[in-house]
């Protein structure tokens, strides 16, 4: 018995050693000629739509672009191809966390790219921090970014907070009110979920401060598909401005309902989804004048080129809010790697302090956050253009009142 056990143990030990050696050998070999980049994103489940529009196409487009150009440039002048490890988190945070653990401890990838959505990014932030990875988060809207940066120094927050978007909107409406174009009454609806709550909480005091009166102010549950009653109330409220802090299905539903009932407020603002390339189709070609969250500098050559290439490679144009920023974040990563290699600490340092040349122009982060953003955009002549901040380069003049549907 003892004999057998010892022999078995020895055999197991030698086998294990051999296996461990071969694994480490293959890892070392892989690390030599490629950069492994891992990500866990929602291919299925409720987050698949957002990830499928904003996150995944840009990851794929970037990897394809880099690899076609011979790979990532390294500080020593060599080039290394990107090898991707991808998992489907099935829109579940449990699966997402497991996938990140796997990417970090089993696949031992060099860089982990973030998932789509504020909640998902928050769910993995402690883990990414513990494993020492940089978290280049784009698709997360939160007012607490400064706190999070303090807690997780390698985390990045590149899409602003609810307060920023609400203030931008109020600023723009104030200008229109001062010019005598709209009255001081606003009808506002918000989806009863993280994003909608954040925005309405930022907007209420901002509206009041600017002298606006919220004549209709209601929230609706996530998953609402019928907006006839809500739009009817908003129309009867007499407000010149209709504001919805909504998710895509709501944004689309309200647009269609407003059209079919002939609701023509002077200001028609919707939340997420308004900047999606399919919006003009949903609005039956009558999108011009609709205001929504986000925006791009539509006159910039780099943006136009990006839109064209995205359309060519992915098959459809990107959205005009977070897509360009997602792609810009990857360009920043590429340029940072060329300077400091793939050491995550050095990368985080470089990303925060460096100046980068991207499709959204020259980018300089402040305290791990991108602050130079578009808060409000508007459909004008078939393109979604940034209109606020009004002093940002490339800002278009908002077209108020909106033409009738």
């Amino acid at each position: 018995m003892t004999d057998y056990n010892r022999r078995a143990t020895l055999r197991a030990f030698s086998l294990g050693l051999a296996a461990a050696l071969s694994v480490s050998a293959s890892v070392a070999e892989a690390a030599d000629d490629t950069v492994t980049i891992g990500y866990a994103v929602a291919r299925t489940g409720p987050n698949a739509t957002g990830a499928g529009i904003t996150t995944i196409p840009n990851y794929e487009l970037w990897v394809k672009t880099v690899n076609e150009a011979g790979g990532l440039a390294m500080p020593d002048g060599t080039k290394r191809m990107i090898e991707v490890v991808e998992y489907d988190d099935r829109s579940s945070n449990e699966d997402l966390v497991r996938a990140i653990e796997r990417l970090a401890s089993q696949d031992k990838v060099d860089i982990i790219l973030p998932p789509w959505g504020t909640g998902s990014n928050l769910a993995i932030a402690p883990l990414m921090d513990r494993f020492g990875y940089l978290q280049l988060g784009v698709t997360n809207v939160t007012d607490k970014a400064p706190e999070f940066v303090e807690r997780w120094p390698r985390s990045f927050w590149m899409l602003g907070g609810g307060h920023d978007y609400a203030s931008g909107l109020v600023e723009m409406l104030s200008a229109a009110h001062d010019a005598g174009i709209i009255n001081n009454e606003v009808a506002v609806v918000s989806v009863a979920d993280g994003f909608g709550i954040d925005l309405i909480n930022g907007a209420r005091p901002a509206f009041e401060e600017a002298g606006f009166e919220l004549v209709y102010d209601e929230s609706y549950p996530l998953g609402t598909s019928d907006f006839a009653a809500i739009m009817n109330e908003a129309q009867n409220s007499g407000a010149d401005s209709f504001v919805a802090f909504s998710y895509p299905p709501g944004s689309f539903g309200m647009t269609k309902t407003a059209q079919s009932m002939g609701f023509n407020p002077k200001v028609f603002f919707i939340g997420v989804g308004g900047a999606f390339p399919i919006f003009p189709g949903i609005a039956d070609g009558k999108a011009d004048g609709v205001l929504a969250i986000g925006g791009v500098n539509a006159d910039s050559g780099a943006i136009q080129e990006y839109f064209a290439r995205h359309t060519e490679v992915v098959g459809n144009p990107p959205d005009s809010w977070a897509s360009a920023i997602t792609y810009a974040s990857l360009e920043m990563l590429e340029q940072a790697i060329a300077k400091v290699g793939v050491d995550n600490d050095a990368l985080a340092e470089e990303l925060n302090s460096g100046i980068f040349d991207t499709i959204i122009g020259e980018v300089k982060l402040e305290d791990n956050q991108l602050r130079d953003l578009w808060w409000v955009g508007q459909w004008q002549d078939g393109a979604f253009k940034g209109v606020n901040p009004a002093d940002k380069e490339g800002a278009a003049d908002p077209d108020i009142p909106k033409p009738e549907w």
Partner: protein
């Protein structure tokens, strides 16, 4: 104000009821709790969009093609997937659990196929998207059509079930599947027809949803939930009950949204649901 609520509520309720008719048939007659129901409605919705955008077939004409295709799909699903489960369970009552597990798997299968085929994007068409004035209330024409389809299909179904020989067979299998063979009814065949008919209705529901609502490949579970609530409220297998429960739900949601707070529509739905489960578990219109 009251009239507005009434009109908007009835139209909304009609679209809900249409969604629930198929599920109540499938569970009532074939005893299969189909968790992939919402995915099947979505499949039909995507096919309608494809027919409209790709081939230029107008949605109302496409509906005529989609309904029989849905019947065929249901027939096939029952024969290939459900029949073995039915045969295995015999009279042990395991069919409920088995069918829930099997259709739960089917849910992900169809969702995966939809995601691969049609992508994760939101999909929507503009069709008859104009307002129609009903008693001074502006209602979208496409929703009105869905309401009309619901009323027509629901009435025909109720009449067929109550008046025809075939309806009698369906009801016999629904009520006492064990005794139906004694009077010469082929239970398997009737259950298959019931399931296929339910799938055809799911397809019609999905196709009419595509006319008025934006949807994406991952929305199926929302439709299943809504249909499930209505089916249980109306009494499982009770077509008239599902119709009335759907209309009632639409009225309640609209009333709550206009008179109280749109944030409470979901809460109101589930409060009624809870009440029904506690005091009338057989459903508002179920016998028992």
């Amino acid at each position: 104000m009251l009239l507005t609520t009434l009109v908007l509520g009835l139209v909304l309720g009609g679209t809900y009821a249409l969604l629930a008719l198929g599920l109540t048939l499938q569970y009532g007659i074939a005893r299969i709790m189909n968790l992939a129901y919402g995915e099947i409605t979505l499949l039909a919705a995507f096919i309608l969009v494809f027919l409209f955008q790709g081939l230029g077939i107008p949605p109302l004409a496409a509906l005529v093609l989609i309904a029989p295709a849905g019947y065929g799909l249901g027939w096939l699903l029952y024969t290939v997937m459900m029949q073995p489960l039915v045969a295995r369970s015999g009279s042990s009552g395991r069919l409920d659990v088995d069918s829930i597990l099997a259709t739960f798997g089917l849910l992900f299968l169809i969702q995966g196929v939809l995601l691969v085929t049609f992508g994760a994007n939101f999909t929507s068409i503009s069709y008859l998207d104009r307002g129609i004035n009903i008693l001074g209330v502006s209602v979208a024409l496409n929703r009105l059509i869905a309401f009309a389809i619901c009323v027509v299909v629901g009435t025909v179904l109720v009449l067929v079930l109550a008046r025809t020989r075939w309806g009698l067979n369906l009801r016999a299998v629904a009520q006492t599947p064990a005794s139906a063979p004694l009077v010469g009814i082929d239970v398997n065949r009737v259950a298959r027809q019931g399931f296929a008919l339910g799938t055809a209705l799911a397809a019609v529901g999905g196709a009419s949803i595509a006319m008025y609502q934006t949807f994406s490949a991952t929305d199926g579970v929302v439709f299943t939930m809504k249909a499930l609530v209505i089916v249980i409220m109306g009494g499982v297998g009770n077509v008239g009950g599902a119709l009335l429960a759907g209309l009632a739900l639409g009225l309640v949601e609209t009333f709550v949204a206009t008179a109280i707070d749109p944030g409470l529509t979901l809460a109101a739905t589930f409060a009624i649901f809870l009440g029904v489960l506690l005091w009338r578990p057989q459903g508002l219109f179920g016998k028992g």
